[in-house]
Subunit: 243 residues, 2 copies
Amino acid sequence: MCTAYVYGVNVYVQRKLVKFDLEILLTYDEGMTTTQRPTLTRDRIIEAAVAYADEHGIDALSMRKLGAELDVEAMSLYNHVANKDDIYDGMIEYVFASLPLPDPDADWQDSIRFIGVAGMDTFTSHGWIVALLMIRGNFGPSALRFTDAVIGILTNAGFSDEDAHHAWQMLSSHTMGYAFQAAANPEGLQKEHVDVEAALTAAADHFPNVARLAPFLAQCEYGSEYAFGLEIIIDGLAARLAS
Amino acid sequence: MCTAYVYGVNVYVQRKLVKFDLEILLTYDEGMTTTQRPTLTRDRIIEAAVAYADEHGIDALSMRKLGAELDVEAMSLYNHVANKDDIYDGMIEYVFASLPLPDPDADWQDSIRFIGVAGMDTFTSHGWIVALLMIRGNFGPSALRFTDAVIGILTNAGFSDEDAHHAWQMLSSHTMGYAFQAAANPEGLQKEHVDVEAALTAAADHFPNVARLAPFLAQCEYGSEYAFGLEIIIDGLAARLAS
DNA sequence: ACCTGAACACCGTTCAAGT
DNA sequence: ACCTGAACACCGTTCAAGT
């Protein structure tokens, strides 16, 4: 891609690794007689991995393809990253670091709502995160910072430690459950899968209830479904707090 | 493993593919002068895949290892199964087929509770199912049968189609969310991961709330947490039904 | 110090050749 | 009809060799 590479003359070009910027960089490179590429760093590798997984899915991400994306042999990655699991951990950290936290003065219910909706947004825009969390867990600093903030909101609201833990488990399960459903949604699946609505209506004889709800199931808006359930959970927690 | 194999003289030995039975079969085989193995079928392949994934995890499952488990070359599997995805679909079907349905005369709240707890049990005893559902979706006959039953319970209880859909999404997200958490739980993760409780308490300076809840987080009983949340959801749905 | 090519031990899958 | 061995195009990762 970069047509020439002068060894030892690495000029760092500040950029994000989105496709658009990448093209600009390449155009820029080709205009030069002596071209250079930005030095390889762990951060650049992680960003490239996130961008690649966003576009092609996590299963398509390989060390060789990631290297090609960065204009480098796969083996060069190992100079900046321990192994592929290390890249996975970096990707998880990257996503959790991007989660916003609410205004500390806000009411606990508003805070929980804000965090929930923002988290759901982030997780659905990086559909691979659920799969990654299942393999690697989530104990990086950003994940801990996030967990700490939510638990802090709950205990400040008056929940006991035990109830705060209940609430945390419930909220995170609700969020991960919907993020999972959104990611496992046929739209997100491989194309070779049969059209779902057709499959559902075809099964009308044996599964009348499913057939009747087929329109709802086929065009489910997970974001608003999530919000609907979140209100029920918040109400339930508030009732428990009041008693 | 089977020392000799007389071509064309396959005697089917009824058995389940659990380790114990396998050993019995092998002992039996070695005692015979002319040994035989059960004919290969799709069902036997699926059962072996489920047993293998239960024991070694879904990532360790490969066509070659699965073949070895069945005393056959990997390529023989393709005579009974389209490809690995087909095996995945069979494994999902196998799990959903094992889900029990409640007494049709039971109260809707008891029915939902029964289905939820039984589902959570099944999903946690096959920890790989969440990952598989994320790759392949769940539109086999048993999954549809299960979905149909739950929706039927809700509509019989008086929920509108739209509210039944809301409730279904919420219940399945809750269940998949907890199944996900249980599967992503450090106990289920690779051993090389750092001891979580130690990591949490070490982070005490920066994350006081997490540190305070460390005991709860480390020894979380997902089954009872699930049941706790399920009650809140059922209460919320009942309140919505009453209004 | 960082990048690379060849190599190793694995994958899923195809296909012609066996019985 | 079913099983197999060799082969192909991929993996993650190691390591000695380059600059």
